[in-house]
């Protein structure tokens, strides 16, 4: 930094960007600023509860639009970067968007938009009074920030933003079971983020920088001397806990079935995938060599997570708890690609994460609609739903195919990619585990379908009549159909998404464009 003392003017060109702010810079930051502003607005007008839902809906629709525009920019121009306060990186906090972050952010925004529609039905006056919509918007700000940031300490901050809003959503209603579940969820998540902070402290001590692109540049020179293996293992533990990987997944089945169904749907769809995203970002992009050393271990974790998750789902009689275990099982499938680390495998993981965001949300919402028609979440009491609503039966069947990874729904292609990558790497155990998991998931979903839709209990008539009197079927089924459209489209026309996920996987393995976006002129 040169100082021009004579004139009293300081030459800042060595430390700051002097050119005017480009339009794309605003695009990079809008997905975070927009939900934050809408959330703050809703808080200011917290007594005008009639307008909360519609304002949140408009905010989320805008968020989807901005994320789509951002993804389009990234696909045409490559990764984008902006640094706060016009500082030159690595001095300011950078936001760096590549295909991976933009795709995840767009899918997350879509899921939130659909959930906002569903919330019109699920969230009553008391839910609004406790601030469901402000919490939802702030959580989406945290989720978008986590996907788009290019600074690892900033990632920690966004994690905390969405975790603390998720606490608010989780205990909405203050029922006994919610408080019980929230206690376990909150403590274990706090421990996980503290572990993340420990790893980041060591990382700063080792690298002297927190900018991810800068870390990539410096990692090669530090590999001999620095404790990079320790860092990678700590990140694996911290984000593994966030993603609900075995054996640090026990907070998920303890809490995800307790909140309002729309909250459970949001959590099941979004939160664990942020853990998976952070694992991909740190282990594949920042510490690729260390990931290679840990690959065998990650493989065993993946197998244990997917098999034990689906076995847990088989043992549950509550539909929401069964779906919670299926969320865990899907995280195991995603970890398989992380263990393989090839472009095909990572592409499969990313595709599976997108599929899982949509499908898991849809499953929880399905549980909510089934409760409305059948009067219960328990498989002992649900019955005869096929007679009440053949449309819902069709939706449930397609979702069962999706989550089991069967055509024509979206689960098929990512599983094909993952199995192909596993076979190419001669990882027979992983390939077998993915296929066995798919088979067991079919049994779980088949049994739910059999018991809830085909079976007819003798006393079903009066209970169903009681439930049907209060049911508002159009909205619930409409929302499920909205989610079903992308799920089926991903299954029938996978090529465009496949191109994007392959690009995203390629961007993780060859991070030169990512580094080049932050430090122009240094990427190859």
């Amino acid at each position: 930094m040169m100082a021009g003392e004579s004139a009293g003017m300081v030459d800042v060109s060595g430390a700051m960007i002097t050119a005017p702010v480009a339009v794309t810079d605003w695009l990079v930051i809008t997905p975070v600023v927009l939900p934050l502003m809408v959330g703050a607005l809703l808080l200011m007008f917290r007594h005008e509860m009639r307008w909360h839902g519609i304002v949140a809906l408009i905010g989320l629709a805008l968020l989807v639009g901005v994320d789509a525009a951002l993804l389009k920019q990234v696909l045409t121009h490559g990764p984008l970067a902006m640094t706060m306060g016009s500082w030159l990186p690595p001095f300011g906090i950078s936001f760096t968007v590549d295909a991976l972050g933009a795709t995840f952010a767009l899918t997350a925004a879509l899921v939130a938009l659909v959930c906002a529609f569903f919330s019109f039905r699920d969230i009553g006056v008391s839910g609004r009074r406790y601030g469901f919509y402000p919490f939802l918007m702030v959580m989406m700000a945290g989720v978008s920030g986590a996907f788009l940031t290019g600074d690892i300490f900033n990632l920690y901050v966004w994690f905390e933003v969405f975790v603390i809003s998720s606490f608010g959503l989780l205990i909405l209603g203050s029922e006994k079971a919610q408080i019980d579940g929230a206690t376990k969820y909150a403590i274990l998540n706090l421990v996980a983020t503290t572990l993340f902070l420990i790893a980041t402290a060591y990382l700063y001590g080792t690298f002297g920088t927190l900018n991810m692109a800068d870390i990539v540049r410096k990692a090669a020179g530090l590999r001999e001397a620095g404790p990079l293996m320790t860092l990678a293992t700590l990140y694996l533990l911290a984000f593994g806990m966030k993603a609900a990987a075995f054996p640090v997944n026990f907070w998920l089945p303890a809490s995800y079935h307790t909140p309002r169904i729309v909250t459970a749907a949001l959590f099941g769809g979004l939160l664990t995938k942020i853990g998976v995203y952070a694992l991909l970002r740190t282990l594949v992009m920042l510490f690729p060599v260390e990931r290679g050393v840990l690959a065998g271990f990650i493989g065993w974790v993946a197998i244990a997570t997917m098999i034990l998750g689906v076995l847990g789902a088989l043992a549950q009689s509550d539909t929401r708890r069964a779906f919670g275990f299926l969320v865990i099982s899907s995280v195991g499938v995603m970890l398989a690609g992380l263990a393989l680390g090839t472009e095909t495998g990572l592409s499969g993981t990313i595709f599976y994460a997108l599929h899982s965001m949509l499908t898991m949300t849809a499953l929880y919402l399905l549980a909510g609609v089934m409760k409305e028609f059948g009067g219960s979440f328990s498989l002992h009491e649900l019955s005869g739903l096929y007679r009440i609503s053949p449309l819902l039966a069709g939706v449930a069947l397609l979702l069962a195919l999706a989550v089991a990874g069967l055509p024509p729904a979206s689960g098929l292609w990512p599983k094909i990619l993952l199995v192909k990558a596993a076979l190419e790497a001669s990882a027979w155990g992983l390939a077998g585990a993915i296929l066995v998991t798919g088979f067991l998931t079919t049994i779980v979903m088949g049994r739910i379908f059999l018991l809830a839709f085909w079976r007819e209990l003798p006393d079903a008539g009066e209970r169903i009549a009681g439930a049907a009197a209060t049911a508002r079927p159009a909205l619930g089924q409409g929302v499920l159909l909205m989610l079903l459209v992308p799920i089926i489209l991903l299954g029938v026309l996978p090529e465009p998404v496949l191109r994007v996920t392959t690009l995203a996987a390629h961007g993780l393995l060859d991070s030169a464009p990512y580094v080049g976006a932050v430090f122009p002129g240094e990427g190859r």
């Binding site: 930094m1 100082a3 003392e5 300490f153 901050v157 905390e160 603390i164 606490f167 205990i171 203050s174 006994k176 079971a177 919610q178 408080i179 019980d180 579940g181 929230a182 206690t183 376990k184 909150a186 403590i187 706090l190 421990v191 503290t194 902070l197 420990i198 402290a201 060591y202 700063y204 001590g205 089945p253 303890a254 809490s255 079935h257 307790t258 088989l314 043992a315 549950q316 009689s317 509550d318 498989l379 002992h380 049994r447 059999l450 018991l451 079976r455």
Partner: protein, 125 residues
């Protein structure tokens, strides 16, 4: 000075983890807060500990003249303290509400969300 702090950080971690292994929510929470402070001290120590030396580069120089402590970790700690403090406040209220609702702070007794001995799903019909 740093070795003393390193030992202190280790002690904090040990105490925090020991308390978190307890069955009682209130002890777990105390463990969590000590664990969090251990991390804050860790970051603080990693940024060097100096007395009363401002981290300012004199005019015309490229680097600081003497050894100074790195101000950035201290800024990071400020962020982390604010976050962990708000978390802790929330968790304390949550634990108190849980005690009011469930009537125990023993985690073995907190089985409302996951009741013991639930029936298995029906085998057939």
């Amino acid at each position: 000075m740093e070795p003393v702090f390193a030992a202190l950080v280790g002690l904090f971690f040990a105490v925090g983890i020991y308390l978190m292994l307890s069955k009682h929510v209130i002890r777990i929470l105390l463990g969590v807060v000590i664990f969090g402070n251990a991390v804050n001290l860790l970051i603080f120590t990693a940024g060097r500990i100096m007395r009363e030396v401002a981290a300012i580069i004199p005019q015309g120089a490229e680097t600081p003249t003497g050894p100074v402590s790195n101000p950035l970790p201290q800024a990071l700690i400020l962020t982390a303290i604010v976050i962990s403090f708000s978390f802790f406040a929330f968790l304390l209220v949550l634990a108190y509400r849980a005690y009011q609702e469930i009537g125990t702070d023993d985690t073995d007794g907190m089985r409302v969300a996951e009741p013991a001995g639930e029936p298995s799903p029906p085998i057939g019909y």
